[in-house]
Symmetry: C2
Subunit: 361 residues, 2 copies
């Protein structure tokens, strides 16, 4: 069966080599005589899998020693609860509001305290990242929350705000491992795995040790306490073992292909190819401010909903799938995560040119 | 690579046919050109997968129409929080205390209200199920909590207590789909998938509609509200898509091999074979009261820790793995879930006889 070019925003394309290895090992992982799915999470084999996954992620992101790495469940959405439940002391958080995912996090944080929006791009439908140089942080806020890459709107933080020592929390679900980051600038990073890492159902949390305390809000459910999970090395109860295994394979694949720096170069090349095509086009245009363009989610439109539909339908017949934009934005969205090959973007750009030539006349 | 007989208590053995199909479809599910792992949870293909999984589970367990089925994350442990957070009104629960898993549920429920132990087998190290005919339910309790099969101790409820209309909640993590159950006797059933269903990281919840309300405790995190998940058909956020796919394959496999009744007959045959061997042995003996023996987790010992160790080591060299008992019980535990073939139990019994002959003299 021929594989398609899958531009899905998530769950998303994974490296074919990883899928091949997973298929090969499905009936017996190494010489274990069983699938990773069938393996006790307390077994030596699985211990090695989760330890390797953590070590490889630490290498890839150069995670400092005073940070813990967790493999949890529940997606970024559960983090919208866990972060305030664990980090609230004054029960105030400052938000840089850049779209649907901050909106949901704001709503949830507001249930336990006060969420203050200190900057927002809502006035222009979240098509840009607010100015980060003149942010006014609240004196009494416990932390600042940002979403580094906005999957729906196609925007991206190209720099990290200087929070003057205040704890910075970043949702990196759609950009983790796509570009180098300085982990030491953040107090807590979280990411659902299903875009750049692995299967849905695994969530990565990277948390600075001083933020891990028993001083969570009183009614914080057991499984929502970071301290429980760090104390038990993500194994208080059975973790999503197979998902962690796939994440580990992706980490190894990334290490073997040059790490995050090499991946960033590839991602720049892919994104530039597509954005250059958009900028050269008379028919297609990007939907966000140029300086804030995402490297992962490229949002674009024609001036006609009819043409958009036609373009998406034609794409599908060529094996380019999931190009429809999010309903709140419309148009098209090409998600070009780490595992999207250059060839996929090239083929898309060629199709765009053909489509424009055909429908312009 | 030869597959072993895997007696792990969970994650546990899965049907080989299911693993083969998963391997075959790893690079392309049907004609989609992508792995299920890479598939948008909003895609038609995945919609079909989750809808089929639910429909097949409904068929298998004859789930009445006034029950909702959910595919969640977080394992049974997260249910220890979700159940009281959603069901507490008077904030009182009656527990039938039968081991480690009720203990954890009691501890968590106690954080939000009062957990009353109305029956317990703790006096004899949880080696039996308390008398269910003379239970005194609290007038003001919101529900009764039981664990139908106790993975660690190897006991099993052979009947369901008559709660006189009070809501009965059952943790069926280690017995679901192994025997027929009358769902209508329960208000809520939950089960981590990793024993009889699929990979760790998926949790099944079956909940009666009248228990799904907005009347959860005030600070219940969003993702812990049953109503959110039932309103959104388990898709408020990205569900553990690949896990749900594997669960679905297991359900189809079970349907094709005769359903729960046929599986129950096979399980009885396997368990009887092993228990008969234990009862006939001068060396090995079961650790729980005969009438309360689990069909899934068979716990047994010799009278010598040295012999136990020798037995487990010898088993491993023959390809029978994960036979060591839980540290709180010692000895051996053979978990013989649905997917453990009769041949595996037969081989184990033959080894037991040989071992006894060799070491008795």
């Amino acid at each position: 069966m021929k594989r398609v070019f899958n531009f899905s925003a998530g769950p998303a394309v994974l490296p074919e080599e990883v899928l091949r290895q997973a298929a090969d090992e499905m009936l017996s992982y190494k010489d274990s005589g069983m699938s990773v799915m069938e393996m006790s999470h307390r077994s030596k084999d699985f211990e090695q899998i989760i330890n390797d996954a953590e070590a490889d992620l630490r290498t890839l992101l150069e995670i400092p020693d005073n940070y813990k790495v967790l493999f949890l469940q529940g997606g970024a959405t559960l983090q919208f609860s866990m972060v305030p439940l664990n980090l609230f002391k004054n029960k105030v958080v400052d938000f840089i509001h850049t779209g649907a995912w901050t909106e949901k996090a704001i709503a949830e944080a507001s249930r336990y305290g006060e969420a203050r929006i200190i900057a927002s791009s809502e006035d222009q439908a979240f098509t840009y990242i607010p100015d980060l140089n003149n942010l006014k942080f609240s004196e009494d806020s416990d932390y600042v929350h940002m979403v580094q890459n906005n999957t729906i709107y196609g925007t991206r933080f190209t720099s990290i705000p200087d929070t003057k020592g205040k704890v910075l929390v970043s949702d990196m679900s759609s950009n983790i491992l796509s570009e180098p980051i300085d982990v030491s600038k953040f107090g807590l990073i979280f990411a659902g795995a299903q875009k750049n890492i692995g299967p849905a159902g695994t969530t990565i949390v990277i948390i600075r040790e001083d933020l891990i305390t028993k001083d969570y809000l009183e009614h914080t459910p057991l499984m929502l306490q970071y301290k429980l999970h760090t104390d038990k090395g993500s194994m208080y109860n059975t973790p999503p073992t197979y998902g962690i295994y796939i994440c580990g394979l992706v980490f190894k694949h990334l290490l073997h292909t040059g790490g995050v720096i090499a991946m960033y170069q590839k991602n720049l090349k892919k994104a530039n190819l597509l954005y250059d095509a958009l900028d050269a086009s008379q028919m297609f245009h990007g939907t966000v401010r140029k300086v804030d363009r995402s490297l992962m989610n490229v949002t674009f439109k024609t001036d006609s909903e009819e043409l958009d539909k036609l373009f998406i339908a034609g794409a599908k017949t060529r094996g380019f799938v999931n190009l429809k934009g999010h309903r709140s934005v419309g148009g098209m969205r090409a998600s070009i995560y780490n595992a999207m090959p250059y060839e996929g973007v090239l083929a898309l750009v060629e199709y765009m040119k053909e489509f424009e030539a055909e429908h312009q006349s």
